[in-house]
């Protein structure tokens, strides 16, 4: 069913208006980050700093264009994902030892560190960031009218591939460890597995996905700046993940599309109340819709 809708998307693509193509592409980008958050959420962890990898992916993609003249979209995404994965690998040694609010705050701090660094880095444009040239596809530079469409197709292809890989992963013994870690880490350790190592692996995957998403977003928007690492960006990703729920690997993308549409619509209607609408929606979700919040709700009820 998912494949069918993707095929439909690909076929209908060229006839969609440019703004719609943009929204869908950004949805794929954000959806990738949310997919990573889904994996972490299954293990009971909420990262308040996925924007770190999103931003890293974007800057990496931009850097290879700016300093090395590379502009192929798939290479951009590959580089973005790889750089993010490497950083996640290093940070994971630290982060995988924490849970709950400390995991969240530490991930937040790390993303703010990147923000702080980028804001003061002249070579990368400081607070203004820099622009990124339209990407090429396998060495071919698409004509201006087809740029958005080719980006969209590439996004759909990469996102589908990632979703498929994650879907497979969820059924492997390692993948099945996540809900166990969330429920009872002590039992996991006593069964002979390292919860820390499993969390580390999950964090690296989530980081890589966010990096790919960041690279995609960079080329879709055409501009990169340090705000991509700011905590409010991480907040958006969390919002999307909650909206989507953890039911399936397609959910994050649907959630991202919904979020993007609401964002654009609400902002268009009334620029001074769109945040409020979002906030209200989030509150409603938290209070009334355990479905989307199913994972969080079953973590463990607080001691009152």
């Amino acid at each position: 069913m998912v494949l069918a809708s993707l095929a439909l998307l690909a076929a209908a693509g060229p006839w969609l208006p440019q703004w719609a193509m943009f929204i869908v592409t950004i949805a794929f980008a954000r959806g990738l980050v949310a997919l990573g958050l889904l994996l972490l959420l299954r293990a009971g962890l909420v990262s308040f700093g996925q924007a770190l990898f999103y931003c890293l992916g974007a800057y990496a993609a931009g850097a290879i264009g700016r300093f090395f003249g590379v502009s192929d979209i798939f290479i951009e995404m590959l580089v973005g994902g790889t750089v993010a994965a490497l950083v996640a690998f290093v940070l994971g040694f630290l982060l995988a030892r924490y849970r709950g609010i400390f995991f969240g705050l530490l991930s937040l701090a790390l993303s703010m560190i990147l923000y702080g660094l980028l804001v003061k880095t002249e070579a990368l444009g400081s607070t203004d960031g820099f622009n990124i040239a339209p990407s090429t596809l396998f060495g071919v530079r698409p004509p201006p009218d087809w740029v958005r469409y080719s980006v969209l197709l590439s996004a759909a292809a990469v996102a589908s591939l990632c979703a498929l890989v994650v879907h497979r992963y969820l059924h492997t013994p390692m993948g099945r460890l996540a809900p166990a870690i969330k429920d009872n880490e002590i039992r996991v350790e006593y069964m002979g597995a390292s919860a820390r190592k499993a969390v580390h692996v999950t964090y690296v995957i989530a980081g890589a996905l966010a990096g790919i998403g960041g690279a995609l977003a960079a080329t879709a928007v055409g501009h990169i700046d340090p705000d991509m690492a700011y905590w409010t960006t991480s907040g958006e990703f969390i919002f999307i993940t909650i909206l989507a729920g953890t039911g399936s690997v397609a959910a994050p993308f649907v959630g991202a599309l919904l979020y993007g549409s609401i964002h654009t619509l609400a902002y268009g209607l009334s620029p001074n109340t769109w945040q409020m609408s979002l906030g209200l929606a989030l509150l409603m979700l938290i209070v009334f819709l355990p479905e989307g919040l199913w994972s969080l709700a079953t973590r463990h009820a607080r001691h009152s």
Partner: protein, 265 residues
């Protein structure tokens, strides 16, 4: 008979509380040992130290000739020592069957299968090391032997108390331990069911040739099933003998059983 597990001079203090003072015990292979003592006497601390959850302040623990004192619980489990818990430690959001599959998945993963690139049908096709059958079948077998087959699709959270205990013990068997530490396996179970449950558990467990240590407060269960008793009091082992001898010991009577007169049959 050679000792499969040898604890020597274990000491552990938590601030002003001494949980273990020079605790030493050599456990023979294939034996069934009962650990008795009042709450806080040091039985669970003893188990926690053997399994690596706590590090002793002094002393050593040797398993099959190898020093396991500094190892973490997961390493101790991988070597062949598993434990059940006073309060059943289950995966509350998963079904009974899935609880077992997580454990079997870990066995697979530790053996090098089931990594990131494994095939999806691994649960139905790949034989689990030590069992010769795929995980799905093994789970069914273990559940059946513990009488849990009918609960296989029930969520672990909603199981009745005795069933939770059994699942907790079933989960410890997944890794095919050579030494099994059962922490109060019959607590929370009604008096009539205690013997039945203990018999079933020991039948399943002993069929694999496993050495068993079990913590128990019911002296009748201890007399019936233990070949040897270690009595704990105030962090020390005050008696180490066959059940009838240990339970008749005046020190044990005073500090553990609670009455100086002869115990009823």
């Amino acid at each position: 008979m050679p000792a499969i597990l040898d604890a020597r001079g274990l000491c552990k203090r938590f601030g002003a509380v001494t949980a273990a003072q020079e605790v030493s015990a050599a456990i023979e292979k294939d034996s069934v040992v009962g650990l008795i003592g009042t709450n806080g006497a040091g039985k669970t601390t003893f188990i926690n130290m053997i399994t690596g959850y706590l590090k002793p302040d002094a002393g050593s623990i040797t398993y099959e000739g190898r020093d396991i004192t500094p190892l973490a619980p997961r390493e101790v489990t991988r070597l062949g020592i598993c434990r059940s818990f006073q309060i059943p430690q289950l995966y509350s959001s998963l079904s009974v069957r899935d609880n077992m599959l997580v454990g079997l998945g870990i066995v697979l993963a530790n053996a090098g299968h089931g990594g990131f690139f494994s095939r999806g049908r691994i649960w139905e096709t790949r034989p689990v090391p030590g069992y010769g059958e795929p995980a799905a079948r093994v789970a069914e077998h273990i559940l059946a032997r513990f009488g849990l087959a009918e609960y296989r699709d029930r969520n672990a959270q909603v199981l009745p108390g005795g069933v939770r205990k059994l699942l907790d013990i079933a989960l410890t068997m997944v890794a095919r331990p050579r030494v099994l530490l059962l922490d109060e396996p019959t607590s929370g179970v009604s008096a009539q069911e205690k013997f039945g449950i203990m018999q079933m558990v020991l039948d399943v467990v002993r069929a694999e040739g496993t050495t068993v240590l079990f913590v128990e407060h019911d002296m009748e269960v201890v007399s019936r099933f233990a070949q040897r008793v270690l009595a704990f009091y105030d962090g020390r082992i005050i008696a180490d003998a066959k059940p009838e001898v240990a339970l008749a010991d005046p020190e044990v009577r005073r500090h553990v059983v609670g009455r100086l007169k002869a115990a009823h049959a």
